[in-house]
Assembly symmetry: C2
Homo-oligomer: 199 residues x 2
Amino acid sequence: MPGSPLLADLIEALRCLPGVGGKSAQRMAFHLLERERTRGLKLAGVLREAMERIGNCTRCRNFSEEPVCALCANASRDRQVLCVVESPTDLAAIEQATGYRGQYFVLLGRLSPLDGLGPEELGLAQLSARLGEGEIEEMIIATNPTVEGEATAHYLAQLARAGGVKPTRLAHGVPLGGELEYVDRGTLAHAFGSRQALE
Amino acid sequence: MPGSPLLADLIEALRCLPGVGGKSAQRMAFHLLERERTRGLKLAGVLREAMERIGNCTRCRNFSEEPVCALCANASRDRQVLCVVESPTDLAAIEQATGYRGQYFVLLGRLSPLDGLGPEELGLAQLSARLGEGEIEEMIIATNPTVEGEATAHYLAQLARAGGVKPTRLAHGVPLGGELEYVDRGTLAHAFGSRQALE
């Protein structure tokens, strides 16, 4: 940036944010300097603290700055249902969209031997131990509907059955508000095959 | 954010960035935590330093962490031309698009009595003093082509003439690559009236 090496550094550093290129980074830097110094400083502080302190919950592997996250520590949540997701983002999506009040387990990945992600990396021993505690009755498998996600779901279902827990899977089908014409073939074929009787 | 109050704080703090709403802030936070911890920490440090240390150059009022910015301190730049712009963003745009190698003066605003922006707030006394130094021969007035920008340009032109400096203004007209059909009326009328003889 002409005139200020520090400003140039700031613009470069802002590019670590996803979807932010040179132009946006420049606009952000100028905006903060011209109008939002206080909030910019606040962001700097929170960002440092988050990068340094946020780890993973020892119980569910979700992001947490405490050894046990607020969701696991919340005594009012149902301890008989466990929802298994691939990532903290998926957990957040479910938490925001549904009224689910049970527990979670975050795999932090999916079974993908080529990427070196096996049962160990996904914490499946820990998950088995948790199923073995005897509290959980249903395990909702909410991995993504991709090839790897489905393989992981299959593996998880076996794990659940071995632990005497009932495995369930999110329903696949035509999205609400979607038009059949634009739904992909695989989804449409699945929805057609899994059609349900109307009462 | 479910599970981590610190993560919720980070998402909230990221919303101070322009064009970043709740969804983008969440995506940014997860991206940094999952993949870019080092660069996230770097950003936190640079951001704090920039917010605390970047002020304005005492000579041209551009952003600078030093009393005199790198542009003003650069002895190889032409001292006979001074380009006056409204904001550091405009300075950056000119610096990036043109081969201009002269000096700058940043108004940090435009004449706008209703907003309490008069000659004093724009540092015009300082600008006059600089014109009075006798080095400058041409003052390029690069305020925005808005009503307030034009009024400011008019005022600046008088100031230049009073200081014995030749004022010039960026050319207005049809943008390169634009189609006449889509150019606004005012611009088209101006371009038509200011038509130039071809050699």
